[in-house]
């Protein structure tokens, strides 16, 4: 049997957008290193529910500690940082993103690309769905003695964003966040500029949504998880609202639609996937320390992620969310509130079930990471619930974000292969196939889709 990936090519297959993405991120880190000399105030913030358009309107340089951590892990540097943090007293049980960041700080705050990460002028905590984020910034506040702005984002416990929730967040933006940004930058908010940024955000979001929707095609031209994490990089971080992002996503969409028209599968590190054997939905963030090996377990078996929840933590675009320039602050509030990890388990299960149906997936895999309770708490319950809703059996694997000690290649490979073989055995017996159509009449999960 041949492997489902056309390997053996001398050079790694790349499309122009891949190079463009790489250049965008390299430019971002280079820009951070110049921020001090360019007298740009520096704001540390987190990816989920970030307010990058607002920050860009003040022309500050945003730093995302989770992005530093995962980029360090992909460059095999996180283990040293984690050891450093544990030496200073942080327990093995503390989130490895936090320890990677604190370790990096202790070692001189040199970022993943080897360039310095500037110290913050403001710590902007724009998402409180993760309690660890708060503790993380408390530690950084002790270190830097800088301004802190905390935006309390209410938990969307019933799965519906109410007017009161939105008004509550907007009020905090007006009373807490914007004044703090005005204080550290010495300038007033230019609302027209914010609107212009949101227009561009919306354009890029439209293109990214089309990219993810392309995975409904057979074969899927993209891997919406392992490839998807590259796609979300610019829009989930500092590029939303920029012309660069608009260009990148238009280019990416063009390439993906061309692949789809040509009937090509996704590009993997070993070449184009030539045989799509299993279509999967994946829940949970990936492991970053062995990202390539992790991905290989799937593509070696011809498994493609056609949808994932991790690629929604910085915006649920495929499900309809768009920033709205006509209601700038309300739109930012909706963005913060609808963050995937701010949703309750029934809605998260429903989203997964909808993905299984809409993307005609053969199965779904939950990757449970030790570090992240926002993701992992309740995942076993979700496993059973999604199985109940779809009739499709789920797979369950465990490791961590950036702590290599918790990633076991043989164990994960064993579980994934077993799971896929289980799906194969079920498929061989058509009478056992899940009655996916039976769930078609259920109401779809309601999201705060803002119409212009």
């Amino acid at each position: 049997m041949t492997k489902p990936v056309a390997s053996g090519t001398a050079s790694v297959e790349k499309e122009p957008s891949m190079q463009a993405q790489k250049e965008l991120l390299a430019g971002y880190f280079a820009g951070l290193a110049r921020a001090r000399e360019e007298r740009r105030p520096v704001v540390y913030t987190f990816v989920p529910g970030n307010l990058v358009e607002l920050m860009t309107a003040f022309d500050v340089a945003p730093v995302y500690p989770e992005v530093n951590a995962l980029q360090s892990a992909m460059r095999q540097r996180s283990s040293g940082f984690i050891r450093e943090a544990e030496r200073s007293g942080h327990s093995e049980d503390v989130c490895s993103y936090v320890k990677c960041d604190l370790g990096m700080l202790a070692k001189g705050n040199v970022g993943p690309t080897g360039e310095s990460i500037p110290p913050p002028d403001l710590l902007l905590l724009s998402f409180t769905g993760c309690f660890t984020f708060m503790k993380w910034f408390e530690l950084l506040r002790e270190e830097y003695k800088c301004e802190v702005a905390m935006l309390h984002v209410p938990y969307v416990g019933d799965g519906v964003v109410t007017d009161a929730m939105r008004a509550y967040v907007v009020e905090q933006l007006q009373r807490e966040v914007i004044p703090k940004l005005e204080k550290v930058t010495g300038r007033r908010l230019d609302l027209d500029r914010l609107r212009e940024l949101l227009v561009r955000s919306r354009r890029a979001e439209e293109d990214l949504a089309a990219v993810f929707r392309a995975a409904r095609h057979r074969p899927s031209p993209i891997d919406a998880y392992f490839g998807g994490v590259y796609y979300i990089g610019p829009i989930f971080t500092s590029f939303r609202g920029s012309e660069d992002a608009c260009r990148y996503y238009a280019q990416l969409r063009g390439e993906v639609e061309a692949r789809m028209a040509a009937g090509h599968g996704p590009i993997t590190p070993d070449g184009t996937l030539t045989e799509e054997k299993y279509r999967l939905v994946i829940e949970g963030p990936p492991n970053w320390t062995s990202f390539r090996d992790f991905w290989k377990i799937f593509y070696d078996e011809g498994a493609v992620a056609v949808a994932s929840t991790y690629t929604q933590v910085g915006g649920s675009y495929e499900r309809g969310f768009r920033h709205d320039p006509s209601r700038p602050l309300e739109s930012l509030a909706d963005y913060c509130l609808s963050c995937y990890t701010n949703l309750p388990l029934p809605q998260r299960s429903q989203i997964l079930a909808d993905m299984v149906r809409d993307y005609e997936a053969d199965g779904f895999v939950i990757h449970s990471v030790k570090s992240c309770n926002s993701f992992s708490a309740g995942q076993l319950h979700m496993l059973r619930e999604v199985e109940r809703l779809t009739g499709v059996p789920g797979g369950f694997i465990e490791s961590d974000l950036v702590d290599a000690r918790y990633y076991g290649q043989a164990n994960i490979k064993n579980r994934v292969e077993s799971y896929l073989q289980m799906l194969g055995a079920r498929r061989a017996d058509a009478s056992l196939r899940a009655p996916v159509a039976a769930v078609a009449d259920r109401p779809r999960y309601h999201l705060p889709v803002v119409t212009p």
Binding site: Y407, N411, N414, Q421, M422, A425
Partner: protein, 435 residues
């Protein structure tokens, strides 16, 4: 005769099962060689083929079937013992200094073991699941004490010769023709006249039967290392599910605690896996853990369970971490806990962990079949009965006496059902399994 082969490369033992066109088990082989997987597969496969051929003879043997079968395997073990003796001689002679005195002393020990082979390698000993290494090792150890005292040799030195030689002896593929072993076995039993002629004729007929391997599937912890094409490799989770169901068709839940991992598997009425969970990369609470405990207490693995069953007040043990197992035992014993109570607590901790995986996989349905090396431990089985009853109510719990072959049986069934003979890759691709 067309046969399908299943091979299960576990972390502790490698097993092979052959099924015929009606999915009847016709041959089994097992080895605990620690050599590379190619050698392990070859030894297990050859033993299964020999077993299948012997089974052909057995159908013609009538009343002598039992005695000839037992003598056959004793004869086969004697061949391995002869190989061990040769290797020991070489190893002892090569040692500088004591070599010339050591070699005859070791040879005397092995000659004693050859004399005792009839009882050492009896069907009862094989039935207990003891391997060549265990049987010979235990006896060598005992005899080496006497021999070293008598000859004024260092005990460790004598034992060292065995330790070096056994690995090589275990890894040797014994190449003697079936009929030669069979005839020697008939002589060993002491059959005479027409009974002897009849038995030898049965052996000749069996030797002539063409055993044709038309399909094979490999599984187990080491399956990625099997010299099989990708199409012929299945996950041990699927194989365990199917194998357990084939052995005990009412099986709906399978708990497998092997040397390296623990698996909770749910199967449907046809033995197809519907859900499973297994431990993460940490092997806490698996068979290897019990191995460490046994070493720590200087006990044989098989002694742990019966000792634990004597406990009246099991110790409370929270960790099943293999790394800390020794520390935990010493801590508890140092505060006066009895050995059997500590052991009972350890067995309960293992099953508590397994219960969590069972819950994750969907629960315990009737019937539950317990497989893997730990299923042979009576204290683990007792703890499982108790906890399943407490959490799920009354459930039938099975432990099949051949459960060690569950994965290999499932693999053989997959070979028969899943890989049609026409689609088999060229036999040359599979250098480890040409019949």
């Amino acid at each position: 005769m067309k046969l399908h082969l299943g091979v299960d490369l576990g972390s502790t033992t490698s097993k092979a099962v052959l099924v015929d066109a009606d999915e009847r088990v016709v041959g089994r082989g097992i080895t605990n060689t620690r050599a590379n997987y190619d050698v392990a597969v070859e030894i297990a496969r050859r033993e299964a083929l020999t077993d299948a051929r012997l089974a052909q003879a057995v159908t013609l043997l009538g009343a002598d079937a039992g005695s000839v079968t037992e003598a056959f395997w004793i004869t086969a073990d004697l061949l391995r013992l002869e190989a061990l003796r040769r290797i020991c001689r070489g190893a002892a002679s090569a040692l500088p200094g004591e070599g010339p005195r050591l070699a005859p002393a070791v040879d005397v020990i092995l000659a004693r073991i050859v004399d005792e082979a009839g009882s050492l390698f009896s069907a009862a000993a094989r039935g207990r699941g003891s391997f060549f290494r265990d049987i010979v090792g235990a006896r060598f150890h005992a005899l080496a004490e006497e021999a070293s005292t008598r000859a004024g040799l260092d005990f460790e030195l004598v034992l060292g010769v065995y330790d070096r030689a056994i690995l090589e002896a275990e890894n040797q593929v014994i190449d003697a023709p079936f009929l030669d072993i069979f005839v020697a076995a008939v002589d060993r039993v002491g059959l005479e006249g027409a009974r002897k002629d009849g038995a030898v004729a049965a052996g000749r007929a069996a030797a002539r039967v063409e055993l044709e391997l038309v399909g094979f599937v490999g599984t187990g912890y080491g399956r990625a290392r099997l010299p099989f094409p990708r199409d012929c490799i299945r996950s041990e989770i699927l194989c365990h599910g199917l194998g357990a169901h084939a052995m005990l068709p009412r099986t709906r839940t399978v708990l497998d605690i092997g040397g390296q991992d623990t698996k909770a598997i749910q199967v449907d009425e046809r033995g197809l896996v519907t859900s499973f969970q297994m431990n993460d990369r940490c092997a806490a609470g698996c068979g290897r853990y019990l191995g460490y405990i046994a070493d720590e207490l200087s006990l044989g693995l098989h002694e742990l369970g019966p000792l634990a069953l004597r406990s009246k007040r099991p110790s409370k043990i929270t960790s099943t971490c293999t790394v800390f197992a020794g520390t935990e035992i010493r801590d508890l014993m140092s505060v006066g806990e009895k050995r059997e109570d500590v052991l009972s607590g350890l067995h309960r901790a293992i099953i508590t962990r397994a219960m969590s995986l069972l819950a994750r996989s969907g629960g315990v349905f009737d019937e539950l079949t317990f497989t893997g090396g730990v299923a042979r431990n009576p204290a683990a089985v007792a703890a499982l009965h108790e906890m399943v009853a407490a959490h799920y109510g009354p459930r039938v719990i099975n432990v099949h006496h051949d459960s060690i072959y569950t994965g290999a049986l499932g693999a053989a069934l997959f070979a028969h059902r899943g890989v049609p003979a026409d689609d088999l890759p060229d036999a040359k691709e599979c250098h480890g399994c040409s019949a």
